[in-house]
Amino acid sequence: MTEIALGFATLLHPTVLGFLLIGIVAGLIVGAIPGLNDNIAFAIFIPLSFSLSPTYAFALMVGLYCSAAVGGSIPAIMVKVPGTASAVLTAIDGHAMARNGFAGRALGIAITSSVFGGFSSALILLFFAPPMAAFALRFGYVENFSLGILGMASVIGLLGGSIIKGLLSAVLGLLVATIGFSLQTGYPRYTFGIDNLYEGVPFVPLLVGLFGITAVLELSEELIRDRRKGVASPDMPRITDSLFIGWPLAKRLLPTWLQCSLLGNVIGVIPGAGMLMAIYMGYERISHRYQRLFAGKPGEPEWGQGAPEGIAAPESANNAVVASSMVPLLSLGIPGNSVSALFIGAMMIQGMVPGPLLFIDHADIAWMIIVAFLVANVLMWPIAYALVRTISGMVFRLPKYVLVPTISLLCLTGAYSDENSVFSIGVAIASGIVGYATRRLGIPHAPLILALVLGRTIEDNLSNALNIGGGNWLIFLDPAEHPISVALMAGAALFIVGPLLSGARRRFQAQRRAAELELENG
């Protein structure tokens, strides 16, 4: 308890708190601008942090990290262009809800869900970091492979219409993920002699293209369609209703928040798993819940057409990854994702190193960082509520015909800034074309994206696990040596069998209803 008090004492200095506030506001703006994200912002901020005292620097970084994902949901809801990759699913139901005239409610759900998820992970970081870190450490090559399989299995429930197209999408993603040098031998696969492809297709431009450029191309299609029809293109939705979601809705969303926050926290502490996996898994789980409890009831839209759960699930899951991804970093010195890896750079510049020593050498700073996550989430709530109207008003009230090229330019410049190379712009454009074309062809995106994220994890960990295990494929199901792997594989099996069973059940019920109807009529 004294350590926590020490953290608060360090944080509650007015200037430190001021930097935390600046970070939160900056994160909202950076997240809201498509093409910019927390990764890019940190990379730029780190060199500037030399002249700052470490307390100021880390307060600012924590604030920015917490609020960037919230900022990303603003353009996702208002114009259906995710501001950050983590808002890609929010764009589906969020924008549909905004078009139905409830932009304010959609934003309110996004903010509240984010704060819930973020706060839960800050609590985990504060109170359960040591056991969670021990859990994270148990993830070796075997466990990571099984985790990848679990992630891919969660896609089955999101396939929807055509199974062939869903599998096609997943296979395409896995194949693209093999581009770059082979970890086992260093052989450059599918690189066509291009150095920029040696480490794989650059990931940030790939996501910017798949999410940002694809969305822009759809907007541009809409504009031209309206122009050719000779009708004025409808304006982007505005906030006309209240941002506050009210108690009944909050009560209804509570189970969603709890489930997705738990999922986000567990995935967050495992190094290398990441936000995208958390949002897709949460979204899949909650979609079944929605179908069971709400779909088809009066006043309830179809899933994907503005369901409140469709915003709450990804937004609480992505923010639950934020503070929990700091668990392995602070406790063990192992970065959980690309953003927390940048924290290492910032600490190094301040002459510190993350890990157990930080709590001995710089206890005040270590505990301040932890406490700052808690405070940032508390402060983020009112700040986001206060600023969301201004941000969405400022940028997204531009006429649509200006907005479309503006977002393109932002996204492509953001892609450039990842590796400072024109090649990245090409990657963003190409993946934008792929994203748009696959959508036109009715090929679902979820399997593609998860396969891109997990493809390398699956291949590399499989080969390493087999290498260590002497080629024995049964190690993944060995309950004595790898119980976590067995549990993950069982989870994957459930993900695959579950949707099949519920589909069979629906068909059975439909048949029975038809039979009953026949009896009544007969």
Binding site: I33, L36, I40, A41, I44, I164, K165, L167, L168, V171, L172, L174, L175, T178, S182, Q184, T185, Y187, R189, Y190, V216, L217, E218, S220, E221, E222, L223, I224, R225, R227, R228, A232, P399, K400, Y401, V402, V404, P405, T406, S408, L409, L410, L412, T413, G414, Y416, S417, N420, V422, I425, G426, I429, G432, I433, Y436, R440, L441, G442, I443, E459
Partner: protein, 155 residues
């Protein structure tokens, strides 16, 4: 309806060819790193063919190509992609950032907007180009190609 007019038929064919090409390439990799991509490529080919077969067997269930739709794709997203590809080329050629960005945005605005208000559009495009440049170059200090271009011009 004739098979040739069905989107799935063509997209299936494209995926099958892509898979076949990737498979052939993968067989040329060293043995330790070729099995996995080769298997994936073969799966892609198989799924592409399955799509083709499905389109041929049940042509009524699949979506068809329509002329108006293709025209919209060509003049909306198609043009957008074309303009930005050209822009990327000018960046690559070292012609600077702001100038080409301004022209690209201006062209797209004029293209998208029904009524012609040239002066307003020029102002909008200039605002966008300079605004985005300011965000990335001044605030985020990204070394945009502008720098070298200007340096070379001044020297």
């Amino acid at each position: 309806m004739h098979v040739v007019g069905i989107i799935d038929f063509w997209s299936g064919l494209v995926f099958a060819c892509l898979g076949a090409a990737a498979c052939v390439m993968a067989l040329g990799f060293d043995s330790d790193s070729s099995t996995y991509p080769a298997a994936l490529a073969a799966a892609l080919m198989g799924l592409g063919l399955a799509l083709v077969v499905k389109a041929v067997r049940r042509p009524a269930a699949a979506k068809a190509v329509d002329a108006e739709g293709s025209r919209i794709i060509l003049w909306g997203p198609g043009l957008e992609v074309g303009v930005w590809c050209l822009w990327a080329l000018t960046l690559w050629a070292g012609l600077g950032y702001i100038g080409p960005a301004f022209l690209a945005v201006l062209f797209l605005i004029m293209r998208h907007c029904a009524d012609r208000r040239t002066r307003l559009h020029v102002a909008q495009a200039a605002g966008v180009a300079i605004g985005v440049f300011a965000i990335f170059y001044l605030i985020f200090q990204v070394p945009l190609p502008e720098l070298e271009f200007i340096r070379d011009m001044l020297e």
